[in-house]
Amino acid sequence: MIEFRNVSKTYSTGTEAVHCANFKINKGDFAFLVGASGSGKSTLIKLILKEEEPTSGNIIINGKDTTFLKKSRVPYLRRSMGVVFQDFRLLPDKTVYENVAFAMYIVRATPRHIRRQVPMVLSLVGLSGKAKMYPNELSGGEQQRVALARALVNNPSMLIADEPTGNLDPETAWDIMTLLDDINKRGTTVVVATHAKDIVDKMKKRVIQIDKGIIIRDSEKGGYNSEV
């Protein structure tokens, strides 16, 4: 599903954010990406999203090498992945329903499909009653659920999250991570970059640890710092 082969990334500033990364995340996997601040987690995620190009190496997504993917094809690649960020990135002047429907619009879904699909994902993330509210009327956890609904509404085969719980208190963070686990159990591949040590230790999922751009550990059912 996602495979990195000897991928390195040096920014134009000269910083080598990723050095010779090799890993493979299979369909249906749940993987944590952990590491200190500045270790290169976000860079890995940007590489997956093809927001940044690798300096060398190959990234294979859904069996296709994206190295030579035309720029005009990138939007279609992105439709196979849902993305959430630490800062939610909702549109403040649109309701919960509209924020989610917006993502379907963009991929030109039919009105009928949108009317059926949006309430379904909203109930999946537990926001059925809040469709008409605006983002500023919601708690942080609820806002992240909207972002998740938006990421999932087009049925992507994978969900990529960069510190999805970074702005949330531990309890809400745990709720969101459990939701991600549920989503994964329904068949979606999930990749989460995070600093949430407690949650990673508790969930016993695959952990890919990166340090100064180098992948130093990749363990099944690992903890944040070491094997459990």
Binding site: L49, P75, L77, R78, R79, A101, Y105, I106, V107, R150
Partner: protein, 297 residues
């Protein structure tokens, strides 16, 4: 929220246009000023052209006689000319005098036409009693025997031709300058909208929106500014033109000269087409320019 793609894209474009009232207004202002200046020069050019045609037919004309016409033929022609209503004066210009006139016109370079002497025919110079009758006189003179060619004998014409050509050049230059200026101003206006909506654009990119999908609302915005400016400008130009010509036509001098103006309806098509092409073209170009940076996510 309506879920119709075309409706959505156009609706967003409209929303953008009216959200940034200040910059939209200033862009429209510049567009309108550009269009008005263009309109002014265009209209002046058209009218000089029109007046020239009237004057050309009006003041006087030179009727060249076939080279092989006999003296009797020439005499007969003069008699016939005299019978035509609307001619005040008929003056014979022999080929020798006519040639001398040409030599004078060419001044230093008169030797250039030396070899053409034998091709210069005799002619009659005709003045009109009433300028308005010139057209009809022309028609009658054309039908007479031994008339080779009729041209204006008015030297003012040459100058007017030069002036009109000059005005056309200036119009084109102004147009070019204004187009470039207006493109940059529109680009700047839309850049503000794009900037205000950069978050939305980046979300769209993450969800997998194609660049063209993202671009459309902004292009609609640019086009809208152009179209609205075109409509405002044509109204202003039309109104002012009517006022100005009505004022001028009521003046005695203009009436005595028999000058008429081109009716605005005759120029309307040309002006509105130029305005719309300008407006839409500038809008689309400007918005495309302003988008480039933000599509790189």
């Amino acid at each position: 929220m309506k879920f119709n793609i075309v409706g959505y894209l156009i609706g967003e474009g409209f929303k953008n246009t009216f959200k940034n009232k200040k910059s939209t207004f200033s862009a429209m202002l510049v567009m309108c000023i550009s269009m008005l200046i263009f309109g002014l020069f265009f209209i002046i050019g058209e009218n000089i052209n029109h007046i020239m045609q009237t004057v050309e037919n009006a003041q006087a004309m030179q009727v060249f006689i076939n080279l092989d016409a006999t003296d009797e033929d020439i005499q007969k022609l003069e008699e016939e000319l005299k019978t035509i209503e609307g001619i005040s004066k008929i003056e014979f210009l022999s080929k020798e005098d006519g040639f001398a006139d040409y030599k004078e016109k060419y001044g230093d370079r008169s030797y250039l036409i030396d070899s053409y002497e034998e091709f210069i025919p005799d002619s009659y110079i005709i003045n009109f009693t009433d300028l308005k009758l010139s057209g009809q006189v022309l028609e009658q003179v054309k039908k007479l025997d031994n008339v080779k060619e009729i041209t204006s004998a008015n030297e003012v014409m040459d100058k007017l031709v030069k002036v009109t050509n000059g005005i056309r050049m200036v119009t084109l230059l102004i147009l070019a300058g204004l187009v470039i200026g207006a493109i940059f101003i529109i680009a700047n206006t839309i850049k503000l909208t794009v900037y205000a909506r950069r978050k939305e654009i980046s979300i769209m990119k993450y969800v997998g929106a194609t660049n063209s999908f993202i671009r459309w609302p902004f292009i609609v915005e640019g086009m809208l500014i152009g179209i609205i400016s075109a409509c405002i400008s044509i109204l202003i130009v039309g109104g002012l033109y009517r006022l100005a010509t009505n004022g001028l036509l009521s003046s005695a001098t203009i009436q005595n000269l028999g000058i008429t103006f081109v009716s605005f309806a005759d120029m309307f098509n040309m002006i509105i087409i130029v305005y719309l092409i300008l407006g839409i073209g500038i809008g689309v170009l400007g918005s495309s320019m302003s988008m480039r940076k933000y599509l790189e996510v």
